[in-house]
Symmetry: C2
Amino acid sequence: MAAESPPSPPVRFGIIGCANIARKVSRAILLSRNSTIVAVGSRSLEKAAAFARDNGFPESARAYGSYDAVLEDPEVDAVYVPLPTSLHLRWAVLAARRKKHLLLEKPVALNVGELDEILAECESSGVQYMDATMWMHHPRTAEMKAFLSDSQRFGQLKAVHSIFSYNSGPDFLKNDVRIKPDLDALGALGDTGWYCIRAILWAADYTLPKTVTALSSAEFNEAGVNLSCGASLIFHDGQIATFYCSFLSNLTMEISLLGENGYLRVHDFVIPFQENVGAFYASANTKFAELSIGIEPAPIEHLVRTDVPQEALMVEEFSSLVRKVKENGSEEIEKFWAIISRKTQLVVDAVKVSMEKGFQPVEVVY
Amino acid sequence: MAAESPPSPPVRFGIIGCANIARKVSRAILLSRNSTIVAVGSRSLEKAAAFARDNGFPESARAYGSYDAVLEDPEVDAVYVPLPTSLHLRWAVLAARRKKHLLLEKPVALNVGELDEILAECESSGVQYMDATMWMHHPRTAEMKAFLSDSQRFGQLKAVHSIFSYNSGPDFLKNDVRIKPDLDALGALGDTGWYCIRAILWAADYTLPKTVTALSSAEFNEAGVNLSCGASLIFHDGQIATFYCSFLSNLTMEISLLGENGYLRVHDFVIPFQENVGAFYASANTKFAELSIGIEPAPIEHLVRTDVPQEALMVEEFSSLVRKVKENGSEEIEKFWAIISRKTQLVVDAVKVSMEKGFQPVEVVY
């Protein structure tokens, strides 16, 4: 009888950069059941030490005054990179080169060319890649997909609409990295449009659109960074999608999915209103009632519970992939996340090009 | 002391055509507190008589074997016209010419040129005009408008999305008047897109868009009648709107309104799920909670009760305008409904032209 294998040790994370989002992901790593934090690096040692202390890191975690020191730490299995987007290429490539598995904050790169360099380094170094798009990992997302895949209740997908916006306020619009052309040049398109585009691709089973056309109402700051935009996406089978993303409108996080036989909507897809339960609303085979007074049946609220927040589930999923690679080698690498990251980035790029070309349709080629 | 004036007699309706929608509007006239039905005309006397009997008309109501006979009935104050769109020009003009006030089913005309002929005849004949867009008259609509007009809770309107679709089924797609080029040549755009476009204009305080661009995913039947389409509308102040309408997708009736400080959504704007209460959902000044875990405050469900269904409120509003004109003369005519009907038709026309021109942007000029 084979002895039971000992439990795998937790995946040991290093964090490079102390951005606000790193607080949420640090909490997620500590909540996750297969991961821990062993190091954090900032350009300032004091800042790194304060971050470790303020975010409940284990006593044994090291604080470093550089990102390099985290990458040189042999006990770091994986790094989480919450740096401004313009720094992703450099630090993601360096991390992969030093055999650190890579959990990369979105938007993952300034363009698909940069992302391809990152992905190529991950492949040649044999490390697992994942972008940090948390909502993908909520069990609600899988339940919604099951509804969309049901030909009786939903059928062919016809039209998708998605919104992610927040009203960032005057201080953000003056000072935040997300509006600085040298730090996060993709602005609202990268920060919020990323989620809408991912939602559209998720709904379309990651089929790419044929063409992407930005709406000519896009807004930019004086430095040319996008503050709001929308686009229409046309797919080969006639399916359409539209989205709107913004730093200048009330916090809103919608996906609306219209199928031949059903309709699904979710109002908090990026960050659930409540941490332990996510709702979505599904209608199937809806008909007008007699005399067209009302409808039947009514939409149904589906509630999906989760003991662990979606961002901790993301960390757990990433770490479980990392463990496989650590135990069985780089043949075990899961390519899915790199592929959908690249597709998302391709559409982000197409929206940007469409805006640059005066809102002309842009073809999307993988 | 002036004596109290006697209560005005009810406005006496004639109905020309026994379409299915006429059943719902007949019920509405009978439910309304200032209107009654005195005549119905069909191309077949038997059909008209059966319609009157089946829909609970007063014993005294006349059934006629022609539309003309209704228009010649001197006791008919107003006519409701549920005929196929291609017949509107002829019968609406004839009705107005015979001094019948006009409640005209939507889409009101095949194009704005036809509508202008109808409106010119209403003006020269001194009759009140209204299109039969029921949801405009639900008290919910006024409450939603109050929210949109609140600069603290909603602020500047940034983006609108609307959907109206229903899965019409094979029999409809083969036989219904709404897919026949000689009867309802506007197809889904006229039948369902009308509501989306009205919603967009309503939200924009009836400002017309600068340009309208149809999405290139539009579907048509073999006779060239539209079965589904979408469009983007760009306004002069940077506001955008998108909509999707269809005969080929599940019954869905959405408006999503995104403002600088707020967000409003309604899921049954065309026909409320329940007849005596309508819901909408409003968010104001929504912020991420600490650590971006959840949001605050949560969206609020607003429930708006109505003792009388929205279509009966429509009839009451129309009849109260008719009474004013009957009592005080044609100077009392309310032009609002003609103006917004014309604006809605202009945008319908622009979407159609955009589709005909290969999905190019089309300017909208009043």
